[in-house]
Symmetry: D2
């Protein structure tokens, strides 16, 4: 981390000779000082990934032109997909929640304590339970109840809210509804979910019950991008905790809560720091 204003490029493309020198030459020749460069080649897929960050202090290009100039000088030639971010960005995040408070409280506490460079202007819930908590943190809360009949209409309402509040990405903090494919398509790689198992073990509902029945000695939590396949999107972060025969389902739920909080928070951290690229349903996490 650096306190100075910097630019971050996230790039992937087919692996080919000369990529690194082209990118670093672009930065260097405009007076940028690279402070982080992380590069990865997936040799199976012959795919090149890079995250590079440089200080803007003496950079000769105006911020609003960097993207275009980079495309002309480098990206087009190599067929790159690229994202350009700035360390001064403050993305706008919406939180979806149902009734379980632990991840929700944890996010809002971090937000208020200033752990993250983010704005959280909007909370959406299919229940009213968390409205008082939202009020305490002075965040707008919308109760959008969902049932089988009204789902598409209510999702439309949600999408309008997301647009009104200029939301960049969504966090599902134990949100207990399955989003439609149409909804998900509107936020590709911009919806982060926390699932309470070490996927791919125990997808779907009641994973702690399934873990107990199977007699596992380890339980886990997984944060991932939401895709149309339930609990099968690209995994961002996972962690586990040991359990024993003494742990009932209730104990697993208790121990799992602490995992869920931290695994979701780490995923959001990576999202906010532009550490994440996705390719072929797997993430590259530049850590």
């Amino acid at each position: 981390m650096s306190n100075k204003k910097s630019a971050i490029l996230l790039i992937h493309c087919k692996d080919q000779p000369g990529i690194v020198v082209a990118i670093t030459d672009f930065i260097f020749s405009h007076g940028g000082n690279i402070i982080n460069l992380d590069q990865h080649v997936d040799t199976d897929q012959q795919r090149f990934f890079m995250r590079v960050e440089w200080e803007l202090q003496n950079f000769s290009l105006p911020v609003e032109n960097i993207g275009n100039e980079f495309d002309i000088a480098v990206a087009t030639r190599f067929g790159m997909q690229r994202q350009l971010h700035f360390s001064s960005d403050r993305p706008r995040m919406a939180v979806f929640v149902s009734k379980l408070p632990h991840c929700f409280y944890d996010l809002l506490s971090r937000y208020e304590a200033g752990e993250w460079q983010v704005s959280i202007p909007l909370i959406i819930s299919n229940h009213n339970d968390m409205s008082l908590v939202a009020e305490r943190f002075n965040i707008d809360y919308f109760h959008v109840p969902i049932d089988k009949k009204n789902k598409l209409d209510q999702e439309k309402k949600q999408l309008e809210l997301l647009e009104d509040y200029k939301i960049d990405f969504i966090v599902l903090a134990r949100y207990m509804q399955i989003l439609s494919e149409d909804f998900i398509d509107r936020f590709p790689q911009r919806i982060i979910n926390i699932h309470h198992s070490f996927l791919p073990a125990f997808p779907g509902g009641r994973p702690y019950h399934s873990a107990f029945e199977r007699g596992v000695k380890i339980i886990g939590a997984t944060s991932h991008y939401v895709t149309a396949d339930l609990d099968a999107g690209p995994i961002i972060e996972q962690d586990v905790v040991h359990v024993s025969h003494k742990d009932t389902v209730v104990d697993m739920v208790r121990k799992g809560r602490d995992l869920e909080k931290v695994v979701l928070a780490r995923a959001i951290w990576h999202q906010l720091n532009h550490n994440l690229l996705v390719c072929e349903n797997r993430t590259v996490v530049f850590d």
Copy 2:
């Protein structure tokens, strides 16, 4: 652990009042000094589990009568299933191996270093690759090749060897053959396998390849008792290690090897210390 000679009772039965006092009174009234007592009630199944260990120094019953006397005084009344072991026991263990050496070497090194109170008189393999290693450790090695046609005959040969060598339990140290149901029935809760994933994720073959494809951030290993359901027997021990997008399948195999060694060794440790009870496909591990 105690250096003095001791007796170990492993018990399970329907939960009911007075069990603990009956057992401890039996031990105390015959002059035994309890050095470990671990008790667990599965409230879901209303099932009582106990491991109790006491010093035999001043115990008034001869060792060969303890089982009978306990059955008459306590076990029959409560409908208990019980095992009686002695700290002076040295069980006889057979190792089944194929071509991968890491778990095999690890077991034999521990054996020779005296880490375990066990005898390993017999090694069986469907290949000849490990015969020289066995020779170094002065353990009899039998090459019993298996194919689809000869499987039952060859298993018969294996069973004869196991009988000849008076084997108490079997360890599959990355043995790449699936045992028949008949074979397994001959060694209930006495065959320990190591599987190279955190079951129930990625059962069957090539779990590291599946883990890579799914893009998990954690890989694991699982030791379990072998049952007729492939990779679905009671789990004894699990552990995991973090991986990243940089880890190829080859890296996962390398990192996983170290996990497999230690997870299998811990299971054997528990087996040798009579720490394990099984009920409803779950283990109780008195640790």
Copy 3:
């Protein structure tokens, strides 16, 4: 865990024959059904430890007499130190905090979410920073500023508050003042601190800076009972997280925060569940 009302005995004494049978006979003969029994002998110290829990449903002694009757029948004979608790107890906990919000928020969130059977009527701080947070959670907050001159007077004021609010135990949620020996003596084994290193490495201030300078690959957090020796009291719980050369002190502080929260919360959980005994500066944690 059981939903029925139960009693919990925590016992330690010199190891000697007949302890377990005496205790379990006391419980059984009065109609109690044991639901948990965990026993441990420290063979070095020849010391016996036990936690036993039984249902009170059909217990023939009135709750208020159990302690006395147990002392007469069992405890005095064996020279036991014993604590008696009831699952229906709701202890009163005070939180001391300075300026860092992460543990503080985490405790209050868990409290409000009903994770713990506890009352938190009182917050004391040497700063005013957290007063608004306390207000949100409707908990009385007292600003008791401390400097070198006024320390003893201010501790007197704190002790009066703790008495007025009938506080059972104190949690130091990153409270940045060292308590006097007199103060500590008033709450033996009833003050829980969180220290931001894996003690005994890096006691005192700025452990993350020291960890960075030493180039460790793991950082930790430790919850412990406060004693007169700074950061040297009995350890209740520890956990760690891996770091790398990429992690600056700021990154370690960030990663450490998540550890501190969970390690402190686990210690409080054990305190509330009467899982903890202390002997010779070490804890026995009946988990």
Copy 4:
């Protein structure tokens, strides 16, 4: 990992603009295809670190000239300290051992199983206990007993052996002698030790005893480069395992053994893969 022959440059120098582009341009302009590039700036020390690996297949410089040409074109200009390695190298490693066999066996098993690209031609011990094991693995074993009087003479003998066997680096596999400063100076950053605690906690002898007395809930192991300050050299790798009040010193020793094996093996892996740079007593581990 790649199967093709590649070159690896390890570089550190004062951070300054244009380093990355200079290095990558050197590689690219001679027809090299970069397969790994990992770069790190220690912003505190204003120090630049890099590991870069490229395929030699179409590289226009002969292998024996790469170092010189790089120095002329790049290294001298930026005041770099650089190491050049090749994926086809097979370094020569000596093992020092005393009486404890677990790390020793583990190393030799990995060696024989072909896990590492290394030669182990030489074993030196201050005892004779492991000579039979060495014989089994067909490695020359020299018994060089050390006492207070003969230490310098015997170290001279050791140094002669190390020279005769053309040893590149030394692994102390629980070698129980302290090396003299003169000896250490001959192998800077080329002697790897395994210490049985999470340093800086419990340096020196008997760390498991100290851990038990302190009542820690976690024990660890640390692999590090040996420097003149005992147990204070740059840390390469650390890992931990949880313990409880039930674990005696004997149990800690048992659990610790498994840690020591894997933590030492990981350090050797990094050494062999040229992943390690040292600066100011801290390691950079390109993983």
